[in-house]
Amino acid sequence: MTAYLLGAATLILLVLILWRRSSPEFRRKSEQPKFQFLANLGFRPDTNATTDASNKPVTPERKGPHEEHEP
């Protein structure tokens, strides 16, 4: 029973991982929320980036409301 439960959890996640590896669209969609979040904060992210390697420094072009009171 233990093995079934842990195995099922692992299987669900392995399916998602394999799906992501095989589908550029999945990769793009799965990473999109982090860029959307930056946009919500008022930072301009590189929304075209779709992979982990996209995490190059992004310089915000405009000071957003989130950083108005930054020290």
Partner: protein
Amino acid sequence: MTGVAERQRIPVATGLVRAHTYAAFVGLLVSALFGLTVSIKFHVPEFLTNHAALTWGRLRYDHTQGILYAWLGNAFLAFIYYAVPFLTRRRVTSERLGWIMFFTYNVVAVLGGWTLVLMGVLQPLEWAEFPLVVAAVIETCFVLMIVQFGIPFLKCGASELYVSGWYLLGGITFTTLAYPLGNIVPHLLPGAMGAAFSGLWIHDAVGLFVTPLAVAVEYFVISAVTRKPIYSHFYSMVGFWLLFLVYPLNGIHHYLYSSLPMMAQHVSEAASIYQGIDVILVVTNLLLSIAIATEGTVLQDVPLRYVWTSIVLYLIVSLQGSVQAVMAFNRFIHFTDWVIGHSHLAMIGFASFAAMGGVSHVWQRMPGVRHSRRALAWSYWLLLIGLGLMVLDLSAAGLVQASLWQKHLPWIDSVRASRPYWVFRTVDGLILLSGFLVFACSFLTGKRNPSGFLGVDLNSDAYHLPRHDKADSWFTTAYAATFGAGVVFFVLSFLMLGVYPAIHLHESIERTTPAGAHLALTPSEQRGAKLYGIDGCAYCHTLQVRYTAADEWRFGKPTHAWETRQEYPQMWGTRRIGPDLARESGKRPADWQLVHLYDPRYIVPDSVMPSYPWLFDGSPDRPTQDARDLVAYLNTLGRAAAQLAPAKPAPVYVLPVASPVDDREQGRAVFMANCAGCHGVQADGQSIGGRALRPVAFDLAGFRLTDDSIWRALEQGVPGSSMPSWEMLPASDFQAVADYVASLGKTDSLPLERQYASPEVLKEAGRRLFESDCARCHGDNADGTGPDGAELLPHPANFHQMMPSYQASARILHSGVPGSGMPAFPLLTPPEVQAVTYYIRSFYSEANKQPPAAPVASPQMGDMQ
């Protein structure tokens, strides 16, 4: 125009952020003060001990509940009110609802819970100590949180929701589901069955409430401070799902080697290890996010530094937790301070550091408030140093305790060895408290932020609406399905680790409960059980002998599930400061328990147990009904198993070979450490505790004892008295204290001119007196086997093995031995006392081939002459 503006700007509910932040500070400082007081009581047990509300147990309950709800709950709520608009581009459901929640949560749940616990209205369930009425309020608040925050998250859509939002949503949802398991079910299911559910909640409180909200803060603050995306959002989601799929399976690892089904124990062990793997994944992603975004530079932003530290400590504490759940290690380390170090590392190092990073990050952006970066930086270092020292200290204490528990040593030795660590813990606690104070000050001092708008500005150039395409629907479906799987897994964990053990145990209990087992409690014993829980006894004394060798030889047979079928709720405990009490029945007389409750140090000088003077009317021999009820309950612990156990054969006693080494000094040290509490420093039984016992403590200085009687008493205890077995003493200490006791008897002679008559006359007069007044209990031969003494405990004295001094004999004959079968003979004249004493002394002398010693003058006898 106004409508457009409002549509384009989503404000943060700053009033609620402020309110919850201030409430969090109050919660943190008050809870820390509870904790510091509890810590001081470990090495100054008489500190604040005169009132029930200030007893160790109740303060300890309020300490942990305060940290969980008053501090972390409020800090996370402050953060959530700030975060929801940025995560969802939507307001929280209702600010009015927020204020209702704020007052309900803080005034009713937190303040009400603290007060009720101090008044003794509580439930002795770990991480669920607030009474049921408060638990109902907290559960209602969790449901309202789903309404308040869950609706914006659901409107946002699964495919666009940042990982912090998932953690917040998951944390609130799963806590709402898990909370009743630990708070209500143990009242419905007794003993072992209830323990299975308690175990689930103990870990779910950390795993499903604290952990997700702390990780949500970490993911939020990293991107918000560095202004860069995290390393991998997908793997952050894999970590999220693994957390919720696997964490609920962990709970039973608090009750390894217990009578819970072994399958459930193995599930929790395997899941705990698996959980460690998940944490490695989560932490790798988080640290890579920081490392890449900051390019390895020093973390100048203090909130981010708090978060970074929290992440590192999350990894350490999680791997530590996985190792602790491995049965081989758990057998050694469980119940020790190591686990307390682990929980402080989790709740301060991981959760509180994350919460501090979160609220300080938020505060620096709040309009119109003060904040001091310098004070914040100071608080970071104070807290890091204080926590580091505390965890090292408690871990070392745990290793020492675990090692001593494996050895044949008295339990009190582990308490003595722990004392320096506990003193040091108080010092660490002071550093932590000062860190908390400076942290709070950093929010009230320094420069003031300008007033202005705080929220999501949809007019921002940077802002863009997410692209919606056909992939959204299947992506949303996949995420939603996995979240649904998490809920299913939670239900499965509930079935497998709660319901299955309960069914299995129910069948097992029905099958194995012996016929005639006396398990039902009388009304007095039931009241005693309630008092045992109210005053926190279960948090120092476990009520479960585990299936481990060290437990079995120290405490007795492991606790069977059927023995616990009347325990509502179970009080198995997860920590041992004092010894386990599951086999307490019959171990000690009620008088010992009463004196011990009144002031433990009367009879165990090194005890750190609190005193319970409010259970007495001023002295240990005037117990209230509450004290009698509590002692009655203690005498039920293990009673059924003891009554059904086959009679033990009388132990075969062999007098050990006497040591050729004179170790009198060592013996005196052992005596002073272990025996002087009852027998007194002069060994005359005149200590406060010794005189309060029934029977009173034995006057060792007034008797010469044979070696084998000393050895037998030390090895087996004295049935019917408070004298326990000291077989746990190391052989050298045992030998030394036996030699020392043998040297104590002051039975010197008196010059012949002080005698009332010749030895022959004295002996004959003594014989007549003895045969008329003493022989029916002590036996014609004075060997303690008289017909009337057969049922007496302790047994009447055997004068072949002990010889009283004339002083001791006169005192006993005059006053009797309170609590024993020995009555007073106040009408005996001094010559009669001398005669009977001379007579009974002759038995010892003959048995030990010594001429009978002449009388020794007592002050009374001298006066009478």
